[in-house]
């Protein structure tokens, strides 16, 4: 359940930016979460409710965009989205470990007033 720790870190960043804007309310925040980040979006949602309680983000909406894994096959010079946790090039059927996206954990946007 490291999502609580991650969401606390996220909230700290959010509150910093809100304070810089002199904001009183946080309306919503958006996160990008890679499929291979080891984070479960549902657990993030629960963690968000826990850590925002009593803060200016208490009524904020959380939006989580899941970022699919994207691999690269160097032999075929091909980016592809694997269909399972086994990353096999759809053209040459070789395994690849070259990951181009899927580990993201980003706070992308927020709205305050």
């Amino acid at each position: 359940m490291h999502e609580v720790s991650l969401m606390q870190t996220t909230l700290d960043i959010v509150l910093d930016h809100a304070a810089q804007q002199g904001a009183q309310h946080i309306h919503w925040i958006k996160l990008r979460v890679g499929e291979l980040s080891g984070v479960i979006p549902e657990a993030l949602t629960l963690a968000f409710e826990i850590v925002t309680a009593g803060t200016m983000a208490a009524n904020a909406r959380l939006e989580v965009e899941t970022v699919p894994v994207m691999c690269h096959c160097s032999a075929c010079d091909l980016d592809f989205q694997p269909t399972s946790w086994v990353y096999v090039c759809p053209t040459c059927h070789q395994f690849t470990t070259d990951l181009r996206q899927g580990r993201e954990l980003e706070l992308t946007e927020m709205e305050v007033s």
Partner: protein, 271 residues
């Protein structure tokens, strides 16, 4: 109703263009302006920054830092004890040990001749780079050959946290089932080394070695595999040789010695 200001705008969750409102005293007040912020901030930036500081320290001091990760009970502490016992005349070994509670593991390692600092994380299910940084300040100042970071027993959460280590080792013991890599892909895909431990009881527990290796080939083709027994010492020499090579080549790429198995199709040796 607008949830932000309480005005009566319909079908709007947050009404962005408020007219000036009247407060109870009848004074006109301006509604706060809405700001949309594009941030693109990495949530783990703070951890990653401290992890990089740890990494620079390890490199500058010439310490080989190894992050050991597994389920509880896979033999992380036993592997460090064995390592210390076998290398006691050659290597200075320091350890940082993470558990939710108790300092049992640090005591065990102390008896094995390892200088160990226990981190008790309370409710946290993983180590973070700042915890390691803090623990480093408690280690006696020695020219460590090897600094072993024994993470909290957990195959999920610690995967996301870089500690600054040079080598990430994931341990799978034969009692856990051959499909662990499929069940915890994020962890196994992050491993540079996979140790299969408790091979001395493989037969007794019906360990299907070929199946386990095939599973690792699929999920973690990047990893170097060693099959070992912390109890009997079987297979440990190849693991030590790998560590020794890494120590000698701290600033270079991780070596792939002849006597290890590289989990790549067509390159898997058998023994």
């Amino acid at each position: 109703m607008c949830e932000d200001c309480g005005c009566s705008a319909e079908s709007v969750r947050i009404h962005q263009n408020h007219d000036p409102q009247l407060n109870q005293a009848g004074t006109r007040i301006e509604a706060p302006s809405v700001h949309h912020l594009d941030l693109h901030a990495k949530i783990l930036e703070h951890n990653d920054r401290i992890a990089n500081q740890n990494r620079v320290l390890f490199q500058n001091q010439g310490w080989l830092a190894v992050n050991m990760l597994s389920s509880p009970g896979s033999g992380k502490t036993a592997l460090i004890e064995r390592l210390a016992q076998d290398q006691r005349n050659d290597w200075q070994i320091g350890a940082i040990v993470g558990d939710l509670a108790t300092d049992n593991d640090a005591h065990r390692l102390g008896h094995a001749g390892v200088s160990a600092v226990q981190i008790t994380t309370g409710t946290a299910c993983h180590l973070e780079a700042s915890m390691v940084s803090h623990a480093l300040s408690k280690l006696p100042p020695k020219p460590w050959d090897l600094l072993v970071i024994e993470n909290v027993g957990n195959l999920v959460c610690p995967a996301a946290f870089d500690l600054g280590e040079q080598i990430r080792v994931v341990i799978l013991s034969v009692t856990e089932g051959e499909d662990k890599p499929q069940k915890y892909p994020a962890m196994f895909k992050s491993a540079q080394v996979v140790l299969i431990n408790k091979t001395d009881i493989a037969e007794a527990v019906g360990w299907q070695r070929d199946l386990a290796i095939a599973n690792l080939q699929q999920i973690a083709p990047q990893a170097t595999l060693f099959e070992v027994s912390a109890r009997t010492g079987a297979g440990m020499d190849a693991w030590y040789a790998y560590l020794d090579q890494c120590r000698q080549d701290l600033n270079g790429p991780s070596p792939r010695p002849q006597n290890s198995q590289v989990l790549q199709i067509g390159r898997l040796s058998s023994n």
